[in-house]
């Protein structure tokens, strides 16, 4: 019944779940600190040393707040919204290869929860469901600002998903597989996909910003026009779930970018230093997390640098620039593959 494989997977699932939540928690702290530093301030520094306990204080505050459900809202959907947002945000991490193979007590395990042979499509499927969390929440609130925010979110995410998918098609053409594990393994050493697909990477990362609703694409929740957008009516931990889901999405998006374009758990000279395979696996996990942290920082860096798009600019960039560019990228990749074969 309890084979070593099953026990290992259960441990891995719990570990990934815990690490995801922990990183999302401290991303909120990191975001505030980075924002402060970029504006020559100090940021939160009262709770614990350097404000290290600030996320806990925020969490306690969120739980203690009064829970309001608007009278005219659809109560079932109102509660379902944040649950969906949170669930879909957590689901994507199942197919991220966190490291290569590790050998424990004579058994070899993959450091990946499940190796789907269509892993890339799974990522798209789950992010598409993520729209429902925002859409249902915004619609059930029965508030025009929430509805506008939700509409913006869904139209934005649908528009940018196309360009994102097209960027990925070019990547799949050059790697020849849909499995995240094989894509990561093919980038061994320093053969990262960024050098093969620089244009595809640029399109993908712009779309990733739009998919996670982060600045400069944070129109669904722009405070100035929509007073919070789809979560205007939310309070207490349901609001917390929405905000938290955004940070989990950011973490997962960083992990996907690192895996697809920046070699995942691979690092330069990994096979030339004469390390055992276990040491390489552990070092690989460290390197993957270093890459993920860099991209989380990059997300925040962009947010506190660039102002928000106007809605027509957003749509123009998505439909008139990114999609033609992605199609051009596919043609270019195809031509190069045809020429080299």
């Amino acid at each position: 019944m309890f084979t070593p494989e099953l026990i290992f997977k259960i441990v891995l699932i719990v570990a990934v779940f815990a690490i995801t939540l922990l990183i999302a928690m401290y991303s909120t702290y990191g975001e505030r600190k980075i924002a402060a530093f970029m504006q020559d301030r100090l940021g939160p520094n009262r709770a614990g040393i350097f404000g290290i306990l600030q996320p806990l204080a925020d969490g306690v505050k969120m739980f203690m707040k009064e829970e309001l459900i608007p009278n005219m809202s659809n109560k079932v959907l109102f509660i379902l919204g944040p649950c969906l947002a949170m669930t879909t945000a957590l689901m994507t991490s199942a197919i991220i290869p966190w490291g290569s193979e590790i050998t424990l007590f004579g058994n070899t395990f993959n450091l990946q929860i499940t190796d789907l042979n269509i892993g890339v499509l799974y990522v798209f499927a789950v992010t598409s469901i993520g729209v429902y969390g925002i859409m249902i929440g915004g619609w059930a609130s029965n508030n025009k600002y929430s509805l506008l925010g939700a509409l913006r979110a869904s139209s934005q995410m649908i528009s940018y998903e196309i360009a994102m998918g097209l960027a990925i098609i070019a990547l799949i053409m050059s790697t020849g597989t849909l499995s995240m594990r094989e894509i990561a393994a093919a980038q061994a050493g320093f053969h990262w996909n960024i050098f093969v697909q620089p244009l595809g990477f640029l399109i993908f990362i712009i779309c990733a910003f739009a998919e996670t609703n982060r600045a400069p694409f944070d129109l669904p929740e722009c405070e100035t026009e929509l007073i919070g957008g789809y979560h205007t009516e939310y309070s207490s931990m349901k609001l917390g779930f929405y905000l938290f889901a955004e940070y989990i999405n950011m973490f997962v998006a960083s992990a996907v970018i690192s895996t697809l374009y920046f070699g995942g758990y691979n690092f330069p000279f990994m096979n030339d230093m004469g390390l055992s395979s276990n040491a390489i696996a552990i070092l690989g996990v460290v390197f993957l997390f270093a890459k993920i942290f860099f991209f989380i920082f990059f997300f925040m860096w962009i947010r506190w640098t660039i102002p928000r798009f106007r809605y027509d600019q957003l749509m123009r960039l998505g439909w008139k620039v990114l999609i033609p560019l992605a199609i051009f990228n596919i043609l270019l990749t195809g031509a190069i593959i045809f020429a080299t074969n």
Binding site: F37, D40, R41, L42, W301, W304, T305
Partner: protein, 189 residues
């Protein structure tokens, strides 16, 4: 014409070049600036631990001084209340009894002396009006409070403690004392 600051820029509406339309160089330039600011010196002053340096003649919370023997200098003449443009000062005078000479310097003293810190505009006119060198503004800050009533400061908060005299030498310089002796000036009369 020469501009005052030399920061004048001529604005033009010219067509953007292809590179400019990409926006990527501009974005990278912006990111360079924000990255530079991460490592630059922070301007925040963490208030209770660090304090901003005050001016030499900062006008903060008032103090009612005692003389060298520890007797209150205030004689409740009311000139400060008259001088006060915000009408923040009120007082009740009383006569000194026998045996209270060590408490009050002259025959008349202020039984109550109240300054409403919400009305006070910290102009320092009370200090200028005082003929007995009794009231002074100090570099202490009036702390925040939760109720309006708490801001009416009585003698318990205004009179300096006997054992801990409050330094007002920055505001009572020899020049100021000399100036106050000149009775030809209207406000010294």
């Amino acid at each position: 014409m020469q501009s005052l600051t030399n920061r004048k820029k001529v604005v033009s509406n010219k067509e953007m070049t292809w590179v400019e339309k990409l926006y990527l160089p501009a974005i990278l330039g912006g990111m360079r600036i924000t990255l530079k600011h991460i490592f630059s010196k922070k301007t925040t002053i963490s208030y209770p631990e660090q304090k901003r340096e005050f001016s030499q003649v900062y006008r903060g919370m008032h103090v009612l001084k005692r003389d060298e023997k520890g007797a209150e200098r205030c004689t409740a003449c009311g000139l400060c209340a008259v001088a006060c443009p915000a009408e923040a000062i009120t007082m009740v005078a009383a006569e000194r009894k026998k045996g209270e000479e060590h408490l009050y310097r002259e025959e008349k003293y202020a039984a109550t002396y109240e300054i409403n810190m919400l009305r006070c505009i910290f102009c320092g006119d009370c200090e200028e009006a005082c003929p007995k060198e009794s009231i002074f503004l100090t570099d202490r800050i009036v702390p925040a409070d939760l109720k309006r009533g708490e801001f009416v400061y009585g003698k318990d908060k205004l009179v300096e403690p006997v054992d801990k005299p409050i330094d007002i030498s920055k505001r009572q310089t020899p020049e100021v004392l000399e100036f106050k002796k000149n009775k030809k000036l209207t406000h010294n009369r």
